[in-house]
Symmetry: C2
Subunit: 304 residues, 2 copies
């Protein structure tokens, strides 16, 4: 499972940062979080195939978060995609997106299923769930939590030995959840397999002022991707326009006790050279912080 | 006057080539020819300011030629543009573009005037004209000819001396088109100023099969920018889908007796390494050919 930061800039693109999009590769599927203009080209520069995208989560209808949708969908069509694509989006935006995706001449032989998600809704998919809550921006905006399904517990070799079970086929059966009989004794999987292990979790804030709902959604997650548009000297203006500063993002990460924070949606006023300086400021509040740069990849390790 | 090739790829972007857009800087104005997705970012990487764009010429509504419009217009709005923007487009596409430019949340304090142009129409603007003709593609598509207004004739110093006019103020008057009287003799500007000199001309084909109408439009122009999607081994397929091969573009340039040919809309199947090989093939037919690459600039010199 890996994260690929396709676009880490905010509002409009700069030479160095494209507008927002983050890919989450989970097994063979890719979940795209937002899709600003130029995302398809960023995908082509990355290790992720645009044809593997399974779902796109749209946080809100500001251009820097969704204008890349029609180009991406049309390129999928030109490359003969057949399997459906699912787009999750805020309530009230489905018809607009359907219309937006229909403009111009092209043929498309796969379905694009657009699904509006309400505040607090949690949807189960094979192997993971996605929960959405309302963030605090100037237009209706969702934040999303990706939660991997719990994994099986660990097989306790010591316990198996204590019970006298010989290694081999019977271990496999127990691992697959079967109850076995050995020397007249019934042995259930629970006797040798530990509790289920929590899956990995990623929270993406979308655009937002610092807010309780995102803080709540992010609690104890492995990775929080939070917007942090500007340095703290511009806090009032950022908050007025529905955004967070870099240090406010770090404060949310700290309060939510997340594993790692990636800050995205960085204003085009900053160059790449400013990145380490800004990152240092955030790290003073939450040390495990990275100011993401375009095409950065991060392997999300399994929890033990 | 210069040309900036912002995107020289066709159909979908590759790592090396963005989809179609070419900027023509004429004095302080910029005329953009097509605006594929990601054009605004290409502009930010170029020497041309996206805020200086005066007009956008759209050839047709295939995604790789117009999906960059809403992002560009919204970035202009975010950067407080006030002066109107004019978009020229084929008949029947105005309402679609107006709708397309209205999707999502944003405020815009300048007018976007969309004007449909019919086959053969020529529009005069201050300092230049733009003529459109129908190209031969699979959907309604225009090709455009930019024609600079003729410049004043050259002042003939020898003639002025022969007429005995002393250099200075009287020369200026004649150059400004005034008739003067010198030693009782009436001297008209025509007596010392040569014929008007032809302005520079640029023709852009849009997507097209090789066709008579583009050939006619391109006659004797300084610069022809013609699509040439693939090598000649794919001629039948290219023509079937409404495109030209690289050598077909060169043949048009030769027949039209243009000054220089730039080939654009190069298929993503080719890498930059293929460029010189393809260019060589075109040069065998029309030596003054360049296969454009992204962000290439070309100064369009004055004719003498």
């Amino acid at each position: 499972m890996k994260l690929v930061f396709l676009g880490t800039g905010g509002s409009w693109p700069s030479k160095e940062r494209n507008v927002t999009s983050i890919a989450l590769q989970h097994n063979r599927d890719v979940i795209l979080m937002d899709c600003g203009e130029g995302t398809q080209r960023q995908l082509m520069k990355s290790s992720v195939s645009f044809m593997q995208i399974e779902k796109i989560l749209i946080t809100h209808l500001h251009g820097d978060h969704f204008l890349g949708l029609p180009g991406l969908v049309q390129s999928m069509a030109l490359n003969n995609r057949e399997r459906p694509l699912e787009i999750l989006c805020p309530i009230g935006t489905k018809d607009i997106l359907n219309l937006f995706l229909s403009v111009g001449y092209f043929t498309r032989d796969f379905d694009v299923n657009i699904r509006e998600v309400s505040d607090g809704e949690c949807i189960d998919f094979a192997g993971y769930s996605i929960k959405a809550i309302s963030a605090d921006h100037v237009v209706p905006t969702l934040a999303y939590r990706f939660e991997e399904a719990p994994r099986k517990g660990l097989f306790d070799l010591d316990k198996a030995k204590q019970l006298g079970i010989p290694p081999g086929r019977l271990y496999s059966k127990l691992q697959n959840g079967e109850t076995i009989e050995y020397k007249g004794k019934k042995i259930t999987p629970e006797m040798v397999i530990g509790p289920k292990r929590k899956g990995r979790s990623i929270v993406y804030s979308g655009d937002t002022r610092p807010c309780e709902s995102v803080l709540e959604l992010a609690k104890e997650c492995d990775i929080l991707i939070h917007e942090g548009m500007v340095d703290d000297n511009l806090r009032d203006k950022a908050n007025e326009y529905g955004h967070s500063t870099i240090t406010q993002a770090a404060e949310i990460a700290k309060k939510a006790n997340v594993g790692r924070l990636f800050i995205v949606h960085i204003s085009p006023r900053y160059t790449l050279e400013d990145t380490p300086i800004l990152e240092e400021k955030a790290k003073k509040i939450f040390p495990n912080t990275t100011l993401a740069i375009d095409l950065m990849e991060y392997e999300v390790k399994l929890r033990e």
